[in-house]
């Protein structure tokens, strides 16, 4: 198979996975999760346990050590069929405490200790390194095994550059896949589905190869058994220590591996999925293991002795000319490696960013950070962590030489993560486990593991000088890495596992017994160990036992919030002289706590809760009634607060508006006063000048008469102006008295025409009217309406500039309203001025003035507003055109 086709197949496969994940995330974003969160998908996602180690390494393991490979799958089987013990509790705790990783679980259990978070993260990263190296090695080997036989296509590059390309590709893929967005719950729907798809691919591939081997190359099960009996591994060399130890370490690993924790606890969408996974996951392991021995036996039989047994799954179909099957096997192995690397590095990146980068960053920048900032930082730190984790994996691959058996590398990682087991198990089952104990146990276990297994795995003289292996460090014989305390008869793996876990557990227990937990720790220990009690709905869970300070604190935190509750308890403890511990539940303390809680939830509720905790009394119906009415009151109160709040907002807005209006009014008032001054002074100027002229005497009589008439006209004009001003002020204040009555519209127009004929009586107008339409009765204030008509007609008489002036009055009636249009045939009002003609003193031109002060239309507008109608200018009517619209029947309490 040409190398470039292999690469193309891998890339195409990865793109398919990416599309699957992308589509699923899109659906999840729209809330369409549905079947994506089924027990089947959960079970398949757990199959991330089966990595390239299983896919390729198990056959090699079987070819080397017979049935021992089964231990790796029997351990997890025990854990899953025993789900009632541990998994159920872990998943419940994970969901209740919103745990985001195994580091978060342990740090959160021991009082949210960040130190523990860092320790666990470091151990996890170091332990994952060989495991990731294993994946790189297997993919590299599979490329080598698959691509080497043919000469066409470009030649496969050497293994080292293949490995680095694989590492870089996986890093890129994981970064694109896993850090596209940030979810508080750290759930990745798309990735879970992609993993599930990969689970199916690797199962189908391995079973496919197995079926081909059993029924294609051999003659069915009976023949296979015969071949097993005839093979090199017919006599199973069981080593009891390794057998039991490996079952144990794989059982520990299945709950401690960061990626297993990620899919099992963090990504768990529904606790009830465990009911299915409890049997379905062991079944998956069963199916994956069933054909391992047959493949190993037939591979040993048929392939040259130089062939790497780790690659039998791939090389056996290839040697038999089954190209398609080999391709499937290749993709299955590729699946196993990629899914492991993706989830492992995402889980590790989450831990690194949450427990190492973020705390450091928060310490360095104590100022209030913008959330977008943090988001970018978290994503960036995760991307770097993913790259770093893969880089470490590659470095380990290079240092260890890339030739070790896959299973041996994997077991180093298993033993490493198994160090979490004491802290985790004691943490969820024993209230007495403390932070100091956990930190000591983890550190000691990690140190022993690193010294006895991890560092030696690089080979003699790589990290630890060969002399140390023989004589011990500084010639201290009992400190030899492979023979602590002179125990040199053990298998190195079991030796390391034994010492690391024994010392880990011992220091953990000792540390826990000798130290006293802080308040948060005790509270968390209660929350973890009694996770099912707390979840037992309602107050029933509290009815057991006497009130313990932890329980009181848990309850107070739920009600008052974490910080407030803690402060209160600390103050109380100080009062009792128990600095640093929780206060004793003395009656005084209980009473004060009850009062404090009452401030938040109401007195009855607080009393009922405390009573429950103190075990003094059962909740009575009266209590419940009081609680109910209290909660109703609280809800009502908060609703009232809310409405007050919105009312305040409204008032503030109204005030702001009013202020703006006042400012405008102030400006308007100045302009108005200036106008008034002008309008008053102008006639007064004439009056004063002419009266002085008359006083001076010696004028011809006709001039006396003429000047006397001017004084009279100007005085009238002054009076009219003052009348208009008063009228306008009354109308604007809304304090106008309306005389409502039924009046014929036609009669009103008659009156208006008669009155307006005084204006420029010298001009004769041609009046067009629609008398039948005018014959309607309006319920309105007739005098006021006539005033409006007079104004409009007078304006037309004054300003219409046509040679033969005409005036058209049309009436229309629609939906309880009457519309009267008054249109002349003059040049009309220029459009720029149309907006201001209804403003006070908006006289457009003084050339043809007839003593108006420019208040007429302003008054008309106010009159119409008082009559429940409007007056508007109609543009484009071939002249000045005004439309008066008012209700047929004005309904207002008759004045």
């Amino acid at each position: 198979m040409p190398f470039n086709i292999l690469v193309a197949a891998c890339v195409a496969y990865v793109i398919c996975l990416f599309l699957v994940a992308w589509v699923v995330e899109r659906r999840a974003d729209r809330g369409q999760i549905g079947w994506l969160r089924s027990p089947l998908v959960y079970t398949l996602s757990l199959s991330i346990y089966c990595t390239a180690w299983t896919f390729y390494g198990a056959v090699g393991y079987a070819a080397r050590s017979g049935l021992e490979f089964l231990t790796i799958y029997l351990g997890p089987t025990l854990v899953f069929i025993g789900w009632w013990w541990i998994l159920r509790k872990l998943v419940r705790i994970g969901r209740q405490q919103r745990v985001t990783s195994i580091a978060d679980l342990i740090s959160s259990r021991f009082g949210k200790s960040n130190l523990l978070g860092v320790i666990v993260t470091v151990i996890a990263v170091v332990a994952a390194t060989p495991y990731i190296a294993l994946q790189l090695q297997s993919v590299t080997q599979s490329f080598g095994a698959f691509a080497s036989p043919t000469q066409d296509g470009f030649a496969p590059p050497d293994t080292e550059s293949t490995a680095i390309w694989v590492a870089a590709g996986l890093a890129l893929f994981t970064i694109i896949f896993g850090t596209r967005n940030l979810d508080a719950k750290e759930q990745h729907h798309g990735i879970v589905i992609a993993i599930a798809v990969e689970a199916v691919v690797k199962l189908v591939a391995l079973v496919g190869v197995g079926v081909f081997v059993v029924w294609g190359l051999a003659d069915g099960p009976a023949d296979i058994i015969a071949r097993i009996d005839a093979s090199d591994i017919a006599d199973w060399d069981l080593q009891p220590g390794r057998w039991a130890g490996l079952i144990f370490v794989s059982a520990a690993a299945v709950i401690c591996l960061p990626r297993m924790f990620q899919v099992m606890v963090v990504e768990n969408g529904d606790e009830r999925h465990l009911f299915t996974a409890a049997w379905a996951f062991p079944l998956y392991l069963f199916a994956m293991s069933l054909f391992i021995v047959p493949i190993a036996v037939v591979g040993l039989e048929r392939l040259p002795s130089s062939a790497n047994p780790d690659m039998f799954v791939l090389t056996l179909p290839l040697a038999e000319g089954q190209g398609t099957l080999a391709m499937l096997a290749f993709l299955g192995g590729f699946s196993s490696a990629t899914s492991m690397v993706i989830v492992e590095s995402i889980a590790l990146a989450t831990m690194v960013s949450n427990h190492i980068v973020m705390p450091i960053w928060l310490r360095l920048r104590p100022s209030q950070a913008v959330s977008g900032d943090v988001r970018r930082l978290v994503l960036l730190s995760r991307r770097f962590s993913i790259a770093a984790v893969l880089g470490l994996g590659y470095a380990y691959y290079r240092m260890s030489g890339g030739s070790t058996a896959l299973a041996a590398i994997g077991l180093i990682a298993f033993a490493g993560v198994a160090q979490f087991l004491p802290a985790m198990l004691f943490g969820i089952f024993w209230r007495g486990a403390t932070r100091v104990g956990a930190a000591l146990g983890l550190s000691v276990g990690f140190g022993v593991w690193a010294y006895t297994l991890f560092l030696p795995s690089f080979g003699p003289n790589a990290v630890i000088p060969a002399m140390v292996f023989v004589n011990g460090p500084f010639d201290i014989d009992w400190l030899r890495p492979r023979a602590l305390l002179g125990v040199d008869s053990m298998d190195p793996l079991i030796h390391s596992l034994f010492w690391s876990l024994v010392l880990n557990t011992a220091t953990f227990l000792l540390g826990s017994l000798l130290t006293f937990p802080g308040p948060v720790e005790r509270m968390q220990s209660a929350a973890f160990v009694r996770v099912f009690d707390a979840a037992a709905s309602g107050p029933r869970g509290w009815s057991r036992g006497m009130a313990e300070p932890e329980e009181l604190l848990v309850m107070a935190q739920r009600i008052l919030g974490d910080d407030d509750a803690l402060l209160f308890f600390e103050a109380e403890a100080r009062g009792q002289g128990k600095l640093g511990y929780l206060p004793d539940p003395t009656p005084e303390f209980m009473a004060r706590l009850e009062r404090r809680l009452a401030g938040s939830v109401g007195a009855a509720t607080a009393h009922a809760m405390i009573s429950q905790l103190a075990g003094r009394a059962m909740v009575t119906v009266e209590d419940l009634m009081a609680v109910a009415s209290e909660s109703a009151q609280i809800m009502e109160y908060s609703a009232r607060l809310e409405s007050q709040q919105s009312e305040l907002t409204r008032t503030a807005r109204a005030l702001r508006d009013a202020n703006e209006k006042l400012m405008q009014l102030s400006v308007q008032k100045d302009a108005f006063l200036s106008q008034i001054s002008h309008e008053l002074r102008t006639p007064m100027t004439s009056i004063r000048a002419f009266s002085e002229i008359l006083t001076e005497g010696d004028l011809p009589p006709d001039m006396v008469t003429n000047y006397g008439r001017i004084i009279h006209d100007e005085a009238k004009r002054l009076t009219r102006l003052l009348d208009d001003l008063l009228d306008l002020s009354v109308l604007e204040n809304g304090s106008v008295q309306l005389n409502l009555g039924l009046t014929n519209l036609g009669e009103m127009i008659d009156r208006a025409l008669a009155a307006a004929s005084n204006t420029k009586p010298e001009r004769s107008f041609l009046i067009h009217r629609d008398l039948p339409m005018e014959n309607i009765f309006l319920r309105t204030d007739a005098d006021r309406l006539v005033q409006v008509f007079i104004n409009l007609i007078s304006n037309a008489r004054k300003y219409c500039d046509a040679a033969t002036p005409e005036l058209k009055i049309t009436v229309r009636q629609r939906a309880g309203r009457v519309t009267i249009d008054v249109i002349d045939n003059g040049s009309g009002i220029p459009s720029v001025s149309q907006g201001i003609i209804f403003e006070k003193f908006a006289r457009l031109t003084d050339q043809t003035r007839a003593g108006g002060a420019g208040l007429g239309l302003a008054i008309c507008r106010e009159v119409m507003a008082n009559l429940g109608g409007t007056i508007t200018y109609l543009p484009g009517q071939g002249g000045a055109a005004f439309r008066v619209s008012l209700p047929l029947r004005l309904e207002r309490e008759a004045a």
Binding site: S677, E679, R681, T682, M684, T685, I687, A689, I693
Partner: protein
């Protein structure tokens, strides 16, 4: 000698009053009701004094004043400004624009006679 006065005022009655007062005082008064006819009136004979109303239709008194002050021929021509608004702001603006006298309506006939005499006595 008779002083020639150009009066620009849109209110016909005030126009008539001032014309009458100044004519009786021996002035030759030409009246205009807005600024449009000014140039022509100037051509007929350069006035000794221009009396301007502040609020005029079309071109305002201030604009006419600015025009006069911009033209070298009329640069030094005495100008009296009349206004019915009587706000200090207007007076300051007019004085800045170079008006020689600012008079608020209503005025007494003696005041206007005295002002004209003062401005035309040269």
């Amino acid at each position: 000698m008779t002083a020639r006065v150009l009066l620009i005022e849109d209110e016909p009655n005030i126009c008539e009053a001032i014309r009458f007062i100044l004519s009786r005082d021996g002035c030759d008064v030409t009246t205009l009701c807005d600024g449009t006819g000014m140039a022509e009136a100037m051509r007929k004979g350069m006035p000794d004094l221009v009396i301007l109303d502040l609020m005029l239709p079309g071109m305002s008194g201030m604009e006419i004043l600015a025009q006069l002050r911009a033209d070298p021929a009329t640069h030094a021509l005495p100008v009296m400004m009349l206004t019915a608004k009587g706000q200090g702001r207007d007076r300051e603006a007019a004085e800045r624009a170079g008006v020689n006298m600012f008079m608020t309506k209503p005025f007494s006939n003696d005041d206007i006679r005295a002002a004209v005499r003062h401005l035309t006595a040269r």
